[in-house]
Amino acid sequence: MEHFSVTVRVRLFAMMAAGNSGNETLELQLPDGATVAGARQELVRLRPQLKWPVKTMVAVNMEYAGEQTPLHDRDEVAIIPPVSGG
């Protein structure tokens, strides 16, 4: 039986955040050995209506990260849609 021991904090910004604040936080429960790809799949399952702009990146603990990056309990996973600062 799969053991869900990894709880990550997910940050959503801009057009991906619920409501009008541009900033939303939620928690995901993930199985042991979870990766960024797994967190993305779980978020899609929980929020099927969420639109992902092309070129959306993911950051783990404030560092841009690839899909295979492993996740650990209490990591912060930020979904970064295309940036537009300046």
Binding site: M15, G22, N23, A59, A78, I80, P81, V83, S84, G85
Partner: protein
């Protein structure tokens, strides 16, 4: 870098004179500044642009900009560096971002300033929402298809 870089977000108006003062010093033979301003625009459907509304993943943006300042200091003899960015509502005609760089010579300062604003726009997790008189939209909704 002679002085540590001054990297901040502001909810209030940016003060360009204060940024220049921050990087002025006896080793600073050339100071280059860049100000990014909310530009007037008219959209056929949305009407006139009133303001931009900025939001950021602040902790990560500050970390990215600190890394950017370190990279700049490796490439140029930076004596002082200011990277200030607005959050919240920035009306048309008002500055949203301010870069000030001082180096011994002007060529270095011009190149470094351009590098800093270009990389900020690529890497820093900051987003602008365009507030038109008839509507508001996040900029990426216009620039890239939603998939």
């Amino acid at each position: 870098m002679t002085e540590p870089p001054d990297i901040q977000f502001f909810q209030q108006a940016l003060d360009p004179a204060a940024a220049v003062a921050r990087v002025t010093g006896p080793q600073a033979g050339g100071i280059v500044t860049f100000l990014g301003i909310t530009r007037a625009e008219t959209d056929p459907r949305q009407g006139v642009l009133v303001a931009l509304d900025y939001t950021a993943y602040e902790e990560m943006a500050l970390a990215e900009l600190r890394k950017l300042a370190e990279a700049a200091a490796v490439r140029w003899p930076v004596r002082g560096l200011v990277i200030w960015h607005r959050l919240g509502t920035v009306a048309v005609g008002q500055p949203s971002v301010m870069i000030a760089v001082s180096c011994p010579h002007r060529g270095e300062a011009f190149d470094c300033c351009e590098f800093v604003i270009d990389e900020l726009k690529k890497l820093a997790p900051i987003w602008k929402k365009e507030i038109y008189e008839n509507n508001a939209r996040w900029q990426a909704e216009r620039e890239s298809p939603i998939g």
